[in-house]
Symmetry: D2
Subunit: 452 residues, 4 copies
Amino acid sequence: MPVPLIETLASTEPLAELFSDTSVLRAMLEFEVALARVEARMEIVPATAADVIATAANSDAFDLADLSRKALRAGTPSIPLVKALRKIVGTKNHAAAAYVHWGATSQDVSDTALMLLLKRAQPLIEHDLSRAERVFCALSERHKSTVMLGRTLLQPAPPVTFGLTVAEWAAAICRCRERLRHEFEKALVLQFGGGSGTLAMLGERGHAVARELARELGLACPDAPWHTHRDRLAALLCACGVLTGALGKIARDISLLMQSEVGEVAEPEGEGRGGSSTMPHKRNPIGCAVAIAASIRTPGLVASYLAAMMQEHERSVGGSQSEWPTAAAIIQATGAAAASIAEIAEGLSVDAARMRQNLDATLGTAFAEKAMVLLAGKVDRETAHGLLEEATRRVLNENRPLTDVLAEMPEVSTHIERPSLQQLSVAEDYLGSADAFRIAILETIRRAGEKN
Amino acid sequence: MPVPLIETLASTEPLAELFSDTSVLRAMLEFEVALARVEARMEIVPATAADVIATAANSDAFDLADLSRKALRAGTPSIPLVKALRKIVGTKNHAAAAYVHWGATSQDVSDTALMLLLKRAQPLIEHDLSRAERVFCALSERHKSTVMLGRTLLQPAPPVTFGLTVAEWAAAICRCRERLRHEFEKALVLQFGGGSGTLAMLGERGHAVARELARELGLACPDAPWHTHRDRLAALLCACGVLTGALGKIARDISLLMQSEVGEVAEPEGEGRGGSSTMPHKRNPIGCAVAIAASIRTPGLVASYLAAMMQEHERSVGGSQSEWPTAAAIIQATGAAAASIAEIAEGLSVDAARMRQNLDATLGTAFAEKAMVLLAGKVDRETAHGLLEEATRRVLNENRPLTDVLAEMPEVSTHIERPSLQQLSVAEDYLGSADAFRIAILETIRRAGEKN
Amino acid sequence: MPVPLIETLASTEPLAELFSDTSVLRAMLEFEVALARVEARMEIVPATAADVIATAANSDAFDLADLSRKALRAGTPSIPLVKALRKIVGTKNHAAAAYVHWGATSQDVSDTALMLLLKRAQPLIEHDLSRAERVFCALSERHKSTVMLGRTLLQPAPPVTFGLTVAEWAAAICRCRERLRHEFEKALVLQFGGGSGTLAMLGERGHAVARELARELGLACPDAPWHTHRDRLAALLCACGVLTGALGKIARDISLLMQSEVGEVAEPEGEGRGGSSTMPHKRNPIGCAVAIAASIRTPGLVASYLAAMMQEHERSVGGSQSEWPTAAAIIQATGAAAASIAEIAEGLSVDAARMRQNLDATLGTAFAEKAMVLLAGKVDRETAHGLLEEATRRVLNENRPLTDVLAEMPEVSTHIERPSLQQLSVAEDYLGSADAFRIAILETIRRAGEKN
Amino acid sequence: MPVPLIETLASTEPLAELFSDTSVLRAMLEFEVALARVEARMEIVPATAADVIATAANSDAFDLADLSRKALRAGTPSIPLVKALRKIVGTKNHAAAAYVHWGATSQDVSDTALMLLLKRAQPLIEHDLSRAERVFCALSERHKSTVMLGRTLLQPAPPVTFGLTVAEWAAAICRCRERLRHEFEKALVLQFGGGSGTLAMLGERGHAVARELARELGLACPDAPWHTHRDRLAALLCACGVLTGALGKIARDISLLMQSEVGEVAEPEGEGRGGSSTMPHKRNPIGCAVAIAASIRTPGLVASYLAAMMQEHERSVGGSQSEWPTAAAIIQATGAAAASIAEIAEGLSVDAARMRQNLDATLGTAFAEKAMVLLAGKVDRETAHGLLEEATRRVLNENRPLTDVLAEMPEVSTHIERPSLQQLSVAEDYLGSADAFRIAILETIRRAGEKN
């Protein structure tokens, strides 16, 4: 299913499909079928009933529009779904109808269905993160000696390497990917509690049915139902929020580096990509726009989810009913951001020459700190700082290299000899631990990869 | 179109329809047709071109899935839409194709389409608010003398009237409705700026075209395009947030008053409404759940919209692209809350006898303040407060009426005579300005109604 | 009081002072004194009592640390404050102590105190907005013909004028300032309801006391208390959120225009302003950082406030108790953003030559749309778009002006003559309605100024 | 330092102290001293310089108001702090002044200072969580057989045990406590990168200095500086958000169970606790109010932090500058919620008799599901559901026990014999896996405790 127009850029096609009516319905039916199967196996319901239920639970047999309408009146899609399923089962085998949804409550269906959907979302998102991480690591190796201007508060700062920059992007993705996996593992648990969370209808066998049902559905079985205790799911959605923020940072950097006045990197081009409806010259950072849009929306969505956690007693009035659209929006935004960053990474053009050129264009002001270090041994620090403030002001006003300006300042030239000054703007001499950091990062990523 | 299952309870059917693919597409086409018509009228494009464009702009002729896919690559649905429209026009009249979208940019289409959708949402929401307001005013009249327990921090407080309570609900809705209307009026403006917001393609006639186009579309014409200045729309969505919060308060109160232990009001029953998938006795506050769910989600959604306001220069990277799903979610949540409260209001059962009974069940502790006032003239305030703390503790421990306990306390009985004590629990004697407030509120609502 | 270090950049000194312990305490005492005075005037309490209360209500006489500690146990600062005041009054005049806080409840004190603080915040914020608005209008006049590169998605677009850009900033501030004033007017109302919101302790005179008390305090008197109906205050804080978003957009633009690679504007310099602890050449956009920081924090804070609106019955458990820090943080962030933008505006340097130079540096690609219009009459639109995509690609690859490239393309040169092509990059020819928009904006601002 | 009045209820005294000016200043000085010591040890700066710096870094020697004012101009408190420190050092030893802050940048100071503060916050919060967890586990044992009404959507549902309810509270706290500890471990890392995050001033020894410095400060040393990669801190603050949500759920439940109409549990009483300024009988759920207030505020605060993650290049304009107040507010809100829940837990009164009484007061409707199970074997499910809907309606209308009503309905009495019906309302027969769940939960908590 394509992404709805109103949510253009807010999802990917596989994730829009995942949260489509048919897919949601199937996940709910999957719960009902698994429940009947397990209960038949444990001789709680007749084996024939389970068979009939499995046959009846064909999503094509349901009227989605009718379910939606009734859901709004019932306060949950589970009630009309169970009624409809019971009716279909009844037409096939009257006695079997009674065993539909045996022992379960509405929220068991809707929560577990959400778990099944999230489980399918996980590899989609992880795959895109791995793609981006892999490419950024390779780019980091390739550009380990590519020098670029550091920029703090969007102003020139001492140089960095593009290799370090992109390694830090990879590291952020790696940390977020591991955090996400950890939270998926914790969160993907069965919800099965019956009316009040005691599975009373199943007498003493409730917990055992729960364990079997979890196994059948490929989910973990928690110590107890979690109908109104939502911290695991909240933590997963927070991990999505953190990841999206990290991806947004990468996208913002790329979009800034793509400015025509900077021009150091560029998103991949492609048919129908990044153009304009009127401006034929445009190569817009569309992938960045998608990732940034996700980063803008997600914090508020995470807040919406967290705000839903104060759920009353054994089932809430409003809290649980608010969760589906929020969770679906977060997962889709996260997936859209991950897919965009992966696509950008794989097609990123890097203009190392322009990077050097932009660094040179600062006329040495990016090395003012370096000059201050040279001076600091000779004059006191405040004096050194003052001399360099003056020197850099002259660089900007007179449009001349810092080296030349400093050479003319007697307070400087008496302390630092010409050759040292000449050396000032050699970026390679002032990279500090850039490569050590880079190597440490890549090693950690490598080890993280091995663990999995 | 029914509400998607994953958004069950998060919209209403008319609003889901409003933001459906077809409806969004039509709104975008409406912009293109109006633009061509106005430009033809002003002899900027040929009249035949406008006719062909109007004929071609039939939503059935567009492949929605294809538009959605291309939108994700283009970064906006407008680009593939314009291309597709141009193609259809071209097959009918080759020359006319060039005049499609003349002078406009993608964001002009998407922003103005959103305005057209919002304009249609306005009466839907306002209608439901009026319904609720009207019924609450009538209930307030009917229950002006219906005494109920006041409750502060969920603990008993001096009595109020249900008439005042429900008048305050009506007043909140009335204020929010007026605020919403005000912000709709300010926000429903044309966006039309061309590539950079100067309408350069239209030479000196841009502003004039804008004025005509606004008139054609039934929108206001702003002084200038607002591509990256989103305060008007932000203020509208904030007004939705404030309204939803106000409705959530009403819903929370009703859901609390519906507790079986309280039982003072009840939501309307009805086929398929408020039941449970397992518990046959249930009469769940489903309408409240929908309104509360909206109130839980909306603050975060408003935050998402506000966070998108820092849009760069003449068009943003990510900010504007994030807006559609957020705006649509807020409007739909607001509409769902309004519809729920209207439905609840129109079918609310009120149990005045139970209200009195709950008040009596406090054994007079709700009147401890009143007793203190009686005492305060006789003994000093701290002493009076202390005596009543002791008396109310005995009421709760011994399960006897405050009147009786006080009568036995010599420090009290020497100051207050038996008849005064007997009078203590007459709620009608201790309602203060409840009815004066109620009358003032209803008068303000009446005047607000006259103004419109 | 200086801004606390942990909130550095999140407030201004006058606003930090406004929300300091002493100021908050004074506002609460102001309520108690006014209440006693009004009640004395209306012969509800003895005149001597009011005098003693007024004398006792000296903030220096209170132990702030003790109040704070007791507030946490009492769940509100009002309870220990009233107790402490009563004690002080009692030492002066035993009988008067009973009349302290007569008829009021804790929330009456805390809500009304907040109103009094907000009332003092209003002119502080409005003053800074007016400063910025005025300077931006003047800059707009001065730079009405200053041409600059339009930028959409951070990529070159057709030219705009700096005069229009800065007029749009002024317009956004003007709209937000009017919205803010409107919401201040609506929100600055007395809260006075007594225990349950009926002013029962005052018998039938409650509403009359409320009207007098409001007048005494310089606040409006609402139809009824609003203890759990918070929409007016919510709307005011939303208006702050919208304003802060609008200011953040301006700050983001300025910070981007200040990039050394762009260099079109600069924040004012000054002693201790915008430097770095290590880099002597730095001129950081500190004012922008403050405004953007406010814009980043405020959406979440607004969400926190909106989330508090679902307040139970006559006084909430948690909702009202959550409001003070949120409201104070929003007001202070708003004030910090407004002060920063005012300071930036008043000292902004504008480099018109650099603006022209950056436009020229696009080698004419900013005029690709204009070229397409020229061509569009001659060849069909898709062809024209295609030709210009190719031409602009060659411009970027070969680093040659668009004019030259187009002149060499036979598909172009047969349709457009050399002189027309030469004219292509004259920005002044392609500004459309830029100045018309600018004039309309300034006229609206002028009229808004007259109204006030 | 007591909590500021405007933040009453939003912090605890130790946490307010932690984020006070003096404490923040000391944490910043701690960084500078450790840096000098480590660099002296590594012979990068003279040993005497380090000694002088250590002596000079006495918080009493600094003018806090002056620092605050200059911080607002400098855009960070670090710059004026370093200047002031350098000045003090210079008065003691002129040469040493140059070595203050050697190799570091402002953000190194402010980020690492925040880490040091967070490290001290951790045991404060964890201690309160442990207190609550321990008491809830003990309560769960004591009340393993205490039956109480289940409540779904605030309506009666089949019974649960208070032992299970409180075990679920403990389990949520335990999971959140472990998550918090995990994120603290990951997040408490040194920030040390120098101007551009390469530690260029330290040549090749930067990474080694970083490792030593981290050890000196008791923080972990990351692979690389994280100036603009904030995911670790974001994840920690999200864990606070999730925890606060979980605590809010507990507080909401307790406040609902404390309603006079329910009366099943009560917060501890105490001097100055939970009273009212006017109502002498009040025992307000103040601890719940504090925890709920934290839960209401925190989601928005988390959103503010996540929104700050898109930080540009090597240092952001606005993002990083927005973090301190947000982080401090989240930590304090979390601590206030934890302290409140701990205090409530330790003094909670439980009224087991009232629990039974409220269950009985449903007249058996809480057992409608159980009756349906009995019937379901005999008649078809829809019929059974319908019969029970009718029966429960009669129970409510006629105020008679479900058992009696059912006994009179021939469709029921032919299928179920009187003794079975009599057994219907025996709650102990319909608790399903309540105790199995409870035992599993407590076992997991026990094992989690052992691990630590």
